[in-house]
Symmetry: C2
Subunit: 158 residues, 2 copies
């Protein structure tokens, strides 16, 4: 697997990964009807990377500061994996890559503001990578199938 | 006191309130060097109100959704009071106004993502208004005088 900065040539591959996740609306707090243009603008607003397997984009992640000013030493990141590449460690590899990249950028911690609590696979992955649950918004997420479920805040020192 | 929607005629008065708070950098995670234009764009991005006393703008607040998609039923707000109007209940009056306005907009909860823990007056105010601490970013804020201090996440059902 090769993880490298995303380029404009990756837009179609990135959107192919983002679109089903956004349309499902089960794990990200993004409008389910979000347009390709808006989704790519959101994902690529700061730094974004892609994970390639045999020349195919299997996953993508973004990295940005989570707050400005006095909060600028903590970053935020988001990760998505192509459905057909699921279960092969792509998310984990991108996460490890992002920790190193964020440290090199001078960040001291990484914060996820909104991990949907019913995304058990995601929660387990972040816990296994050293993230602690540091907060919980009660009923913070309206899950399309399950109704109001908690949204977690997770943090990892870098 | 009269609380009403902000108009473009209020920009100078709003900036006069925002500027010292942003420059001090002790309570908001905003760049201390933020320009007037950027600060007003941030504050007025969605809905903003001002509190008037004897025709003078004594405080201002903004209201917006805190997350998109499945998180869109929780709002976020920010409040600032002119230094010379401090201690007269302006922040509390704006908060109560914002709860009613947010409820009328259909929001089910209000979340503060980043209450600097050393802002004791702010934390006490929010607690007295029914906010609970639902999270804490360890060392999440680089205070200009105190170094790294915790940042709290607070929530109130509406």
């Amino acid at each position: 697997m090769r993880i490298r900065p995303a380029t404009s040539a990756d837009h179609a591959a990135i959107w192919a990964i983002l679109e089903p996740v956004i349309r499902a609306g089960e794990t990200y707090a993004l409008d389910r009807a979000m347009s390709r243009e808006d989704a790519l603008a959101f994902w690529l607003a700061n730094e974004a990377f892609v994970a390639e397997e045999q020349g195919e984009v299997a996953g993508t992640y973004y990295l940005r500061r989570n707050q400005a000013g006095g909060g600028g030493h903590v970053c935020n990141a988001g990760y998505m994996v192509a459905a057909e590449a699921s279960g092969r460690g792509v998310a984990r590899a991108m996460a490890v890559h992002s920790f190193e990249h964020a440290k090199a950028r001078g960040y001291r911690g990484m914060q996820f503001n909104f991990v949907v609590s019913t995304n058990a696979r995601g929660v387990r992955l972040w816990q296994s990578l050293g993230f602690a649950e540091i907060g919980c918004v009660p009923g913070g997420f309206a899950h399309p199938g399950l109704g109001f479920v908690d949204a977690l805040m997770m943090y990892r020192a870098l």
